[in-house]
């Protein structure tokens, strides 16, 4: 009897051990180590729930500081050490797909119907990544400020024209009531420049690169529309309508609320303090239309599958598990960012009907344009940033535009067209 019991116990233990070892480990790299908001905790919660929801896969998460993340991924790709699931910034994704760091997501595209455009990462017509959130930028100000200077409150249907916008800035400047009428966020550098400012260029009718071929920036970055944009951009600084590149980070953070600036071009992540400070007087306005339609940037962090993953089906299962409205809502409520679907937005604290940030969902839905979908974007973004800073500091606009076009075109040529 004892022997039988021992055998049964041993078999049971073996079966249990077998069941445990049958779970395959999947690695996930996440960029938000140290993020003070709830994002990291929610990603951990998502992983825990996925692991508990099935018995085939166990996702283990490794977090990286955002500052180091892209370089770490690049180094790991070189060394053949990529994880199964990658967290990737939307505009960077085409580069990673082209460089063979990632493989197509392979999920049914019908699943993604109705998602905000910036939350789906496509390269070469194929979906490689999908995001659980997006961000949107708006002109933040106070209704009372516009009323005081008899400036029309623009709407999504009828945004300011370029002339109206510039005139409004000049009116406020001439009043002498503010240090500057508009804060563009020049204190922020890096990706902020192409994300926040290339929409102005696109609204003028230009672009960072020719999106039809992605083989040149000729004519789009130095054509008549781009020249008009560059002249307007330089005028903002020459006419003291905005702080320059030496803007203090403190002023960027607090300038609008402190009354130093009348308006601020900022993202929805910075909107709640404005609501807290101004209450119902707070206004979030759409981008102005400079002739080619009003535009704002789109595309945030997304999940994808690495090219070297030996278990893409497991990675896919995890990502599909994450694509649920309840997660979108949880992330939005936790981080203040936009959920990717209208149904999830309706359930959130801030983007539901009557929510403090409801307008941002509409802005993203109506005005969002993803940054150039090309592997060369990561180089083009740096060139664009440098060009804008130089023009803001008084450089010759024709020289700057031509130099940027040459540099972008040379880079595309050096990389054999980046696979387009």
């Amino acid at each position: 009897m004892k022997l039988k019991l021992a055998l049964i116990t041993a078999l049971g233990a073996f079966a249990l051990g077998g069941a445990v070892s049958a779970q395959t480990e999947l690695s996930l790299w996440y960029h938000g180590a140290g993020s003070a908001n709830a994002e990291e905790a929610l990603v951990n919660e998502l992983v825990e729930e996925f692991n508990a929801s099935q018995s085939d896969w166990v996702v283990s998460i490794e977090t990286f500081p955002q500052l180091a993340y892209n370089d770490s991924v690049g180094a790991a790709a070189l060394a053949g050490e990529l994880p199964d699931i990658l967290d990737v910034d939307g505009p960077v994704m085409p580069n990673w797909a082209w460089a063979n760091y990632m493989q197509p997501l392979g999920i049914d595209e019908a699943t993604l119907e109705g998602y905000l455009p910036g939350t789906i990462g496509r390269w070469d017509g194929v979906v490689y990544s999908v995001g659980l959130w997006d961000a949107a930028v708006a002109i933040m100000t106070r209704r009372s400020t516009l009323e005081a200077y008899d400036i029309r409150v623009p709407t999504l249907e009828e945004p300011w024209t370029g002339e109206e916008f510039t005139q409004a800035l000049m009116t406020i400047r001439d009043s002498g009531d503010f240090e500057y009428p508009l804060d563009l966020g020049m204190a922020w550098t890096g990706e902020w420049y192409p994300y926040a400012f290339s929409p102005f260029l696109q609204s003028f009718g230009g672009d960072i690169v020719d999106r039809e071929t992605y083989q040149t920036a000729e004519d789009v970055l130095n054509g008549d529309e781009a020249i008009a944009f560059a002249e307007w951009w330089q005028m903002l600084f020459e006419e003291n309508l905005v702080p320059g590149t030496s803007q203090d980070a403190a002023d960027r953070e607090t300038g609008l609320v402190n009354g130093n600036y009348a308006m601020s071009w900022n993202g929805n992540w910075a909107a709640l303090p404005v609501v807290e400070a101004f209450g119902e007087d707070a206004l979030f306005l759409p981008a102005p239309d400079f002739g080619n339609g009003p535009t704002i940037g789109a595309g945030s962090w997304q999940f994808g599958i690495s090219a070297t993953s030996e278990h893409p089906e497991g990675a896919r299962a995890f990502i599909e598990f994450a694509l649920q409205d309840r997660w979108f809502t949880a992330f939005s409520d936790g981080t203040g960012l936009l959920p990717p679907t209208a149904s999830a937005a309706a359930e959130t604290e801030n983007y539901a009907e009557g929510g403090a940030l409801e307008v941002f969902y509409e802005l993203s839905d109506e005005q969002a344009l993803v940054r150039p979908v090309t592997p060369g974007y990561i180089v083009q973004a740096r060139i664009f940033e440098s060009m804008l800073a130089d023009i803001a500091n008084g450089a010759d606009i024709f020289d700057e535009l031509d130099a940027a076009v040459d540099e972008i075109s040379r880079d595309i040529e050096r990389n054999s067209g980046y696979g387009h």
Partner: protein, 293 residues
């Protein structure tokens, strides 16, 4: 012959102290700014930057930034990792490089001059330029450890230590110092029958305090400030060093400056402690060799 009156002497003294105080202030103020800023909330910290208040413990002072910094990142683990990696590298560097220098200076072997020239030439190659081939090599290197035979050094302490043990600059410093040691001592010891190892251990190294301190401080600072290499070879949070940890305090747009200052204050403590512990020897080294850190 003109004599110095007590008044002139006093004036000179006052001038000298004034200049020295000014220089000291210039060096101390950044540290003071860092420590004071670590005690202030972000809004106040940023507003204070335009005035002398930035250097004073005024306004809303608290240790909140330190508490928040500890919540944001495993600071203790990062500091311990850095101290371990840096300490091990410094000790091994001192041993390996001093032995190499000893060989260059006191032993006769063919090709010594050529190899020393090649070694000196490596001084002009920045580490960053060899990181990618080094990374590829490290990912394929074999190792026999507690888990048996394995391939690949990534995600380990050793990949953060071993590539930096031998370096041309440290060997050069030791060679320069050893060349100035009295040859008679070495020759007398050899005549007395002392082995080279005994001479190295009992005579040369005990006389080399200043260069050991200099080399140790330079290596310590280099290793403690390592950012790019650990970022490339370490994915596991538990073995990350302090400089990579700094990334925990920045994202694309917003930086919690108070917490950054608290973190910087905390990670500066081991550097200051190390420097102060070797300060006397280091200064005597600078005075005697003219080597600046």
């Amino acid at each position: 012959m003109a004599s110095i009156s007590p008044d002139n002497h006093g004036l000179r003294l006052v001038t000298r102290y004034a200049v020295l105080t000014l220089v000291a202030v210039i060096f101390v103020f950044p540290l003071l700014f860092m420590v004071m800023s670590s005690l202030k909330p972000d809004t106040q910290l940023l507003n204070d930057t335009s005035s002398l208040r930035a250097f004073l413990p005024v306004g809303d002072i608290s240790l909140d930034n330190y508490a928040a910094a500890f919540e944001r990142a495993p600071i203790g683990a990062f500091v311990l990792n850095s101290v371990l990696i840096t300490g091990a590298t410094v000790l091994l560097t001192l041993l390996v490089c001093s032995l190499a220098a000893f060989s260059f200076v006191f032993l006769d072997w063919s090709g010594k001059a050529v190899i020393f020239s090649i070694l000196l030439a490596t001084l002009i190659i920045p580490y960053e330029t060899i990181f990618i081939p080094l990374l590829l090599m490290a990912s394929q290197l074999p190792w026999i450890g507690g888990d048996g035979f394995e391939i690949g050094w990534l995600n380990t302490y050793r990949v953060q230590i071993i590539p930096f043990i031998a370096d041309g600059l440290t060997i050069f410093l030791f060679v320069q110092f050893f060349r100035d040691l009295p040859r008679e001592l070495i020759e007398a010891s050899r005549v007395e029958g002392a082995s080279w190892w005994l001479i190295y251990r009992r005579i040369v190294m005990p006389l080399s305090g200043p260069v050991i301190a200099t080399a140790a401080i330079l290596k310590f600072l280099f290793m403690y400030n390592q950012y790019l290499w650990p970022l490339m070879v370490v994915q596991d949070e538990s073995i990350r060093p302090v400089m990579v940890g700094l990334g925990y305090f920045t994202d694309q747009l917003n930086v919690p400056w108070g917490e950054v200052m608290a973190y910087l204050t905390l990670i500066t403590v081991p550097v200051l402690a190390f420097y102060l512990s070797l300060q006397r020897v280091f200064i005597s080294s600078v005075a005697s060799t003219g080597v600046k850190g």
